[in-house]
């Protein structure tokens, strides 16, 4: 240990930390293993099991628990093979994994208690692990020495020098995260013999050089005894912020049928992130085309070690008609509303003995919320069902346009409401089609530009707050902003002298009827463009944005709420109206000083906060609400942030509180209303609108009280209508006075 001497006290403390952690890890392991007995583990579950064992091994290493290290090492090795699909999840394997988990727990406990176990404790399980690796995984000599290792060259192989080509192109983000390529190079050098080639071709002339941008790329050739994983680990922190390909140059004998069909195994670039964490999770369209998937041939357990596994594998899921689930969701939604209505009424009446009633209401509210969560969970499904359709699409489209395309998917297990999943298929299909057709260059062009001839499209999903984030990334030509702008001018979408920022120009591809491909193809066609995609996504309450680097590629990011049914919102009051702001968008709220608010020449108003000027949006003006507080310094400004980081300040009377609301569609009976993403029904039966921050930001601020179409009509002349008002030019007030 390079960290100096550790005293007894400190050691005891560190040790305690370790065992606390072990407890957590073992619990996690246990849970995962018991799931394994019921269903085939996905890559996420396998990774999690692997990590648990790996962490225990790592910690044990630090404290010199040799036995624990030895056992977890074997355990980990088997899990690694399983993770890479080199061993199938047969009953025998699962039994062994479960038994090994038990042994591991005992070994940890023994280490903690500083007990000695019998020498052969767990030996039978260890043997079984080794046998499985030999028989199923084709890993010979797993138990014996290392003499065969070099020949077999399993992916976790430790020895035998191999040569790797590593191509590494940092993105600007890499620098923004304060990573430093030089340090990576230095670290690579420690792994073996390193040859470095630096590509300066991306370097612009000095005067157009952005100091914070990334222009250089490197190619390394490394002769090392380390594995691909070890190399990938060097790039651990930067794998998302660079283009990285680690290619093994010398062909290793391949074991297992799975890869035999792949013609260019040795050439096939492997993403660093694949190798490191989630190889099983990614799907390669190319590979899938070439090689049959490992089918689920179940290997019966020949020598059934006594264990709990056999017999307990039962079916634990049932199929339910979606209509029934929907009905349940609706009824629970109504229940939520009814309950809050009742609670409000009871609170208003403030009856004697109210305390007990209030407690009852509170309890009921909790239960109902729980019920609602349960019901929502029924509808959640992994996006896998949509992602799984994409490899086929990629094959078809790429064949049609004659481009070689590789599709990588991650996060298929990310769950999202079923309705959302259904609505994802079209936009994704469209975007991937676009990416292949317009985004990626053909093989020739790619070669000329020094790229791999096979284009890559990445499809990734993950959770971010209450949203699911889906990214479609290609390593194609990127958006040529000048061309895009010219096209937009030509089409009359923007004025020729318009000054647009890069983001704004990129955003033009979402303009209706936009298509910049030189040739109209029958793949993407013309007319049905990204505008349709954006509309689809907006209809889901989501957003879509694009980032692109010319020559490097394009990334579309979809941010879509996990469920279309409920929203965590902040209720605000404006006059007599209530509005719901999505909680995720709220940065803060504050009451500005009078001096912080300034009117701009164009009619807009801004509030200054911490040196930033934020545009103010007066809800009472936008919605024509009478009786609201008109000066921000008497009311409140809620600072909201959009997905792209844009900010607006919304002027309200007061905050009422945080609330989960049931989202009701406005579109069922009405066309989309800009600025409003939906509505909810309050406890008193009134409707409160849910505001769409993204759209609010783009709305013109109106400072007068008139409605846009508000023609002033001829005065009411009839005396038969007792309620007819004097026409005072304040039409919106009428809805309020009933």
């Amino acid at each position: 240990m390079s960290g100096g001497k550790i005293t007894g006290d400190e050691f005891a403390q560190f040790r305690k930390t370790f065992f606390d952690e072990c407890d957590e890890l073992l619990t996690n392991l246990d849970e995962r293993l018991s799931c394994l007995q019921e269903e085939t583990a996905d890559s996420e579950a396998l990774n999690s099991i692997f990590r648990a064992v790996h962490s225990i091994k790592a910690g044990a290493g630090a404290f010199n628990y040799a036995r624990l290290v030895a056992f977890s090492h074997k355990y980990e090795a088997l899990l690694d093979l399983l993770r890479e699909g080199r061993i199938e999840q047969s009953e025998r394997v699962i039994t062994a994994l479960v038994n090994a988990g038990d042994i591991l727990a005992v070994l940890v406990e023994a280490a903690q208690m500083e007990q000695d176990l019998a020498d052969d404790y767990g030996a039978d399980v260890l043997d079984e692990l080794e046998q499985i690796m030999e028989e199923d995984g084709g890993v010979e000599g797993a138990s014996a020495g290392d003499q065969d290792q070099a020949e077999v060259e399993v992916s976790n192989g430790d020895d035998g020098p191999s040569r790797f080509r590593i191509s590494f192109k940092p993105h600007a983000e890499l620098f923004r995260h304060a990573n430093e390529p030089l340090l990576l190079v230095r670290e690579l050098k420690t792994l073996g013999d390193l040859t470095i080639t630096c590509d300066l071709s991306g370097l612009p002339p000095l005067r157009s050089l952005e100091p914070e941008d990334a222009y250089l790329s490197w190619t390394f050739e490394l002769a090392t005894g380390k594995s691909r994983d070890d190399i990938a680990e060097v790039f651990e922190f930067v794998e998302d912020d660079c283009d990285l390909e680690i290619t093994r140059l010398d062909t290793a004998p391949v074991s297992g049928d799975q890869e035999k069909g792949s013609p260019n195994e040795a050439e096939a670039p492997v993403e660093a992130s694949d190798a490191a964490a989630s190889s099983a999770q990614k799907t390669s369209a190319v590979a899938e085309q070439a090689s049959p998937k490992p089918t689920a041939k179940v290997v019966p357990a020949p020598q059934n070690t006594k264990g709990p596994a056999s017999g307990t594998t039962g079916v634990t899921s049932i199929r339910v008609d979606l209509d029934r689930v929907d009905r349940l969701v609706n009824v629970v939604g109504e229940l939520v509303i009814t309950q809050s209505m009742l609670a409000q009424e009871a609170a208003e009446r403030n009856e004697a003995g109210g305390l007990q009633a209030a407690q009852g209401h509170e309890e009921m509210a909790t239960l109902i919320r729980e019920l609602q969560e349960c019901v929502m969970a029924i509808r959640m499904q992994p996006v896998k069902s949509v992602f799984a359709r994409m490899p086929r699409l990629v094959r078809e489209v790429s064949a049609k346009v004659g481009k070689q395309v590789r599709l990588l998917t991650t996060g298929e297990q990310t769950e999202v409401d079923k309705t959302v999943i259904e609505e994802l298929a079209d936009p994704l299909t469209h975007m991937i089609r676009n990416a292949i057709d317009h985004g990626l260059e053909d093989g020739e062009t790619r070669k000329e530009r020094g790229k791999a001839p096979v284009g890559t499209i990445k499809l990734a999903a993950k959770h971010a707050g209450g949203n699911i984030l889906i990214q479609v990334t290609d390593d194609g030509a990127g958006i040529d902003r000048r061309k895009l702008f010219d096209k937009a001018v030509e089409k009359g979408i923007v004025a020729a002298d318009a000054k647009l920022g890069d983001d704004e120009i990129d955003d033009l591809i979402f303009a209706p009827g936009f298509s910049t491909a030189k040739a109209v193809t029958d793949v993407s066609g013309r007319g049905v463009g990204m505008d349709v995609v954006r509309r689809n996504i907006n209809n889901l309450g989501g957003r879509i944005s694009v980032q692109s680097v010319l020559g490097k590629g394009t990334r579309f990011t979809l941010t879509i709420p996990l469920t279309l049914a409920v929203l965590d919102g902040m209720m605000v009051a404006v006059g007599r109206e209530k509005y719901i702001l999505p909680l995720t968008s709220i940065v803060e709220s504050f009451q500005p000083e009078r001096g912080q608010v300034r009117a701009l020449a164009g009619g807009g108003e801004v509030v200054s906060i911490r040196g930033e000027f934020i545009r103010l949006i007066y809800l009472h003006r936008l919605f024509n609400v009478p009786g609201a507080i008109t000066e921000p310094w008497n009311g409140l400004v809620v600072l909201l942030e959009t997905a792209n980081g844009g900010k607006i300040g919304v002027v309200v009377d007061e905050l009422i509180g945080q609330q989960q609301v049931v989202i009701k569609s406005l579109q069922e009976n009405f066309d989309p209303v800009p600025g409003v993403s939906g509505a909810t029904i309050l406890g008193n039966g009134k409707v409160a609108l849910i505001l769409d921050i993204e759209q609010l930001r783009n709305m013109p601020g109106r400072s007068d009280g008139s409605r846009p179409n508000g023609k002033h009509h001829i005065p009411e002349t009839s005396s038969h209508a007792p309620d007819a008002p004097p026409n005072d030019g304040q039409p919106a007030a009428m809805a309020q006075t009933g």
């Binding site: 001829i714 005065p715 008002p725 809805a735």
Partner: protein, 173 residues
């Protein structure tokens, strides 16, 4: 108001049994806006209810009163008086909202009172003459005379064409 509705229900039942099956007759619900009588096809009417408050929407034509809660469904509601350019209605709980279906959408129409159910032979429906009295004559589909009174037939489809009901301006882009 309740009387109104009860009366209608009974009459509806009676008239359905007696008259709907006759060839070439149609049924309408007539209602009053100011001192004008209007009618719409009974088949479009889903229900009639008392006025409840609406939540106003941004950037809408002034006759759009916003949305109301109809047992959990969000229903956009329109002030017919203002739609006809006769000024606005100060709605009270005694005002009536006719819930109607237009092109598979459910909308609410704020009127002063519901009057009657009319069973009319098609021959009795007269075309609309050029009329300057009512501002937007294009959504009138005919006129019927009922006991000396003139009832104007409305075409809801024309009254609330999609473009008309649509939010103005495409902010979302």
């Amino acid at each position: 108001m309740d009387d109104h509705i009860d009366g209608i229900d009974q009459e509806t039942d009676a008239s359905e049994a007696a008259e709907t099956n006759q060839p070439n007759t149609r049924q309408f619900i007539s209602f009053r806006v100011g001192d004008e009588e209007f009618a719409i096809d009974i088949m479009a009417v889903r229900e009639i209810k008392g006025w409840t408050e609406t939540a106003p929407l941004p950037n809408q034509p002034d006759y759009n009163l916003g949305v109301m809660n109809l047992r959990g469904t969000i229903v956009p509601t329109f002030d017919l008086r203002r739609r006809f350019g006769m000024g606005g209605t100060v709605a009270t709980p005694y005002h009536v909202v006719i819930i109607a279906s237009v092109k598979e959408r459910t909308i609410g129409l704020l009127v002063d009172a519901v009057s009657d159910i009319l069973t009319v032979h098609e021959d009795q429906i007269r075309p609309v003459p050029d009329m300057e009295r009512i501002a937007a004559a294009e959504f009138l589909s005919g006129i019927i005379t009922v006991e000396e009174n003139m009832v104007v037939l409305l075409s809801l489809e024309k009254l609330f064409q999609r473009g008309d009901v649509t939010a103005s301006g495409d902010m979302a882009a």
